[in-house]
Symmetry: C2
């Protein structure tokens, strides 16, 4: 392929409105262009990288006999009402009214549609287990699209769904997909961590995320320094379930109310009283389906609403409004506390259990209490793990130190169980003659994110450093003087031969300075660069350079093809 | 691939709500399933056929250095206002309001988006010519989705766009695409006709449709029996531009008004007066941007509104309402005529020119005129070709007889010219230092329609008869007794070997009657069927049968693989 026939609009400068290295490089190397907020076009090079990622995904899925199909993006809203997820998706789900006045949905995911399909077509245990997948465009109206194609409103997902007779069989399908995901991401050259994760609105009990470590990642994961434990920040269990007996000895001081005019945050209170935030109680009022909940956590910690929702079994937990707080506590936001609080369930994080003589809101305007103590001053209905882990915590498995890292989620696998098959009626007749709901799993990979993540991980100050497996161009040939017929004949011959061997080749035949060509070669990041110099070629020599190495080699022109082949297969 | 691992829900009976043979077979063979009106899921076999069609399209496009990319389905509405097509698409275009209250469009086609992209990235004649394409899902909210995936609301299109310096260069790109389309449809095994077509809302002057002849086709084409001329019915020029002088001799009879109580149609009038419809004038009142238009055509012909719109240069021609007709003519619908008609432009089809002493509406309730004659009784503002051709016409090129045929449109190529580049500002600096608009072409193929059309053309009463190039299964192996280990071992070995050689193989390992397996094999329509019979296998024999042939052959099991290879490459 010659540069003159293809659209590769490289940019010298970093474009505006780009946040991460990967996003900048994808624009600069001419892989993508923004059409509107969170909506991108893939230009020829970007498209090729996408196709390579897709091909790897497809090959590995097919190896384990997963069946590819294609489901519609347009979905009838009724399925979402049946599954009960219409409200869960909220404004993220794009809806429209069709010309016959029916509400339709643009699929953000396909659990509903696949379950409906399988419900109609699969009726016997003989047809199970079944793994179906598709590589298809999804739509989500993200509140804040960002980081280029990482969080966009239209993206390509490989979504797979497994259907099994029972939980044991699901475990086999889940393991199959889990291992397949490892092979896929390994082949893509990604450095990733597998973490336990919260299933969120997908439902089910068990899920794992495949996280690519990257400074720019918008997700946070927790890793143990001592053992293999890793978790998403949302899901990470805190190690302080056991009480620390040593605090038992501290004597309880008398409860006292103090003046804290306009001091509504832990930070300000800490400054005013010169007390560390861990000596204070944070009280947050929520509203659940069953009434108000006061969630208590140590002042230096943050409440994890996912954990809190699970702890109290609430599906639609919301922060109480300012008005609700005033009505409930008798004081405005910022002065809530558990002492004397009525008509609210009190749930405290384990971190609160060992606190003695602490500071809390007094439920009066501009007033706090000091020397508050559990049992003596108020009762806790339930203790639970309802906070985010921090680097001051230890590993819940082995007590070693832990670190928090930014990451990009590229894959997510879920054991869904019977949530969808129950709600949508996907049942089968088992060998024992009984009708049972199918046991489901679902498995997603963000195809665009594979590309974005590899660029985020694999680059230098000159540009992208593609792994062989995903590189849109494997061999980038620079002809220093495209007017020299001998140079062009040699380069074209090489280009043809590479293409005949299904090796992606780009011949830079532009009549511009060599400097620009070398810069573009590095920016585009092809693993192998060939330079054809008129004078060297006369002596039978050309230059070859690996993108990952600093130095180039001068080699015989007759050996160049076999050298390229060797490089392509060895990396 | 074993049947037990894949989802192929074949049906014995024709499903309800299916209109054509192809639609019925696609459902019965388990290729597709309907999710909602005009919305289909592709099951594994249907998906494989789609992928094969896509691969052929991609290979042929790549051969001529067209560049594949991927544009978003979500499009900002502003581009459609700029191009002026927002209203043209009307309710066919799906629109929604996003969470930030902006109107968005679900792309029914991508002229706007690609022109915007190229406008931003291409600035010099050195970057031209350029052919860009994608294979992508389009959305159109069809008023009447039908014929399965032929007219659906979500479909896969290969859409290509060419950008050239001038009209001469566009001609080269157009020819390149035209020839590529021929190769694509040839490889797909389709029997097709290329016709001149009306560009419709795409704009431009020249367009050709690739039409697959099929009884169930919703489009009509016209073919000459004598020369190569073929046209879409919409576009087909009528041969009667020249007057037929012989009628000149007929003497003009006196104009007379007659009573025709409640006779509002040509048909009823013909019966009442015992006069052939070709002796009557049909007068249809339209409303254009410039006022009313009375369109006249011979009673046995139909007005072609596309031709009429072009003839009078109207973009938004509409039938006049009953009220408008009464106000204009003084009589209700059914009694309009040109005599004495005021405040309307009178445009007559060439077929009217030679009429003598004909019958027309009197512009009075329940009254018609007989012995009407042009010039003596009324004046025509313009004569033009404004009707549909019929089989009573002759070829406009060679005067031979013509036939009308039903067909399915699978491809359409357009010379767009500068319509979009002008409106969206896609200009370039030419070698002469002048800024010029790019000259565009666009080229579409309905990928789903390739599949639907081949099935419509290639089937028998047992099921689909796939061509090798698109068959989702090439070799269908029936194991008569799957409990026999020797049979299964042989069949699995063959299946593995075929798959290793990238030949799609399906092993029917079901524990059901042989009859069902043979029926499914014919229904699914794999080009080659292998039958493994336990007793024959012991003697070293298996059966091979071509789907297209009636008889099977018994051959040595050791020769089976080479025989299959030979069949696959020779067909």
């Amino acid at each position: 392929m010659r540069w003159s026939n293809i659209l590769i609009p490289t940019l010298k400068e970093d474009p505006a409105d780009t946040e991460t290295t990967g996003h900048k490089l994808m624009i600069r190397a001419g892989l993508i262009r923004k059409l509107a907020s969170g909506i991108y076009s893939y230009l020829p090079l970007g498209f090729r990288a996408l196709k390579k990622a897709e091909a790897i995904v497809r090959e590995e899925m097919d190896k384990v006999d997963a069946q590819e199909l294609l489901l519609p993006a347009l979905q009838p809203v009724e399925l979402w009402h049946k599954s009960g997820r219409y409200n869960d998706l909220g404004e993220d789900m794009i809806k429209f009214i069709d010309r016959h006045k029916k509400e339709m949905v643009l699929g953000p995911t396909h659990e509903e549609v696949i379950t409906e399909l399988v419900r109609n077509e699969v009726h016997s245990y003989k047809q199970l287990p079944l793994i179906l997948y598709q590589i298809q465009t999804k739509f989500r109206d993200e509140l804040r699209p960002r980081f280029g194609v990482i969080r966009s409103r239209e993206f390509i997902m490989k979504d797979a769904y497994s259907f099994d007779r029972d939980v044991e069989s699901l475990q086999i399908s889940y393991k199959k997909m889990f291992d397949t995901y490892c092979r896929i991401f390994d082949r893509c050259g990604l450095k990733y961590v597998i973490v336990e994760a919260d299933p969120g609105i997908m439902g089910g009990d068990v899920s794992h995320e495949f996280m690519v470590l990257a400074e720019s990642g918008e997700d946070m994961i927790v890793k143990c320094s001592g053992c293999l434990w890793a978790s998403s920040l949302d899901k990470a269990e805190c190690a302080d379930k056991q009480t620390n007996k040593k605090n038992d000895k501290e004597s309880l001081l008398p409860l006292k109310e103090i003046d804290t005019p306009n001091i509504k945050t832990i930070e300000k209170l800490s400054k005013l009283l010169n007390v560390e935030s861990k000596g204070m109680l944070k009280t947050i009022i929520y509203r659940s389906e069953d009434g108000f909940v006061a969630a208590l956590v140590r002042g230096d910690f943050q409440i994890n609403e996912l954990k809190l929702s699970r702890a109290i079994g609430s599906l639609h937990l919301k922060l109480a409004t300012d008005k609700e707080i005033e009505d409930l506590t008798g004081a405005p936001l910022g002065f809530s506390g558990p002492v004397g609080l009525k008509n609210a369930k009190i749930i405290a994080d384990f971190s609160v259990r060992d606190m003695r003589n602490f500071i809390a809101g007094a439920n009066k305007t501009d007033r706090h209490l000091i020397n508050v103590n559990i049992t003596r001053d108020f009762s806790v209905d339930t203790f639970s793990d309802i906070r985010f882990i921090t680097e001051s915590d230890t590993c819940p498995k082995c007590k070693a130190s832990i670190t928090l890292k930014h990451a990009i989620e590229v894959g997510h696998v879920f054991k869904l169980g019977i949530k969808y098959s129950n709600r949508l009626g996907a049942v089968f007749l088992d060998a024992d003659g009984k009708t049972k709901p199918m046991v489901m799993g679902c498995y997603g990979i963000g195809i665009n994110r594979i590309i974005a993540a590899i660029i985020e991980q694999s680059n230098d100050k000159e540009g992208i450093v593609w792994p062989m497996s995903l590189a849109p161009v494997l061999v980038y040939t620079i002809v220093l003087d495209p007017k020299d017929k001998i140079s062009m004949k040699f380069a074209s011959g090489l280009d043809d031969r590479l293409r005949d061997n299904k090796l992606d080749s780009l011949l830079d035949d532009r009549q511009i300075s060599a400097g620009i060509k070398f810069k573009d070669a590095d920016l585009i990041g092809a693993p192998i660069r060939i330079t054809v110099n008129k004078d060297a070629l006369k002596k039978g020599r050309v230059e070859i350079k690996q993108r990952r190495e600093r130095v180039s080699k001068i080699v015989s022109k007759d050996r160049i093809f076999s050298l390229i082949l060797k490089s392509c297969t060895s990396t």
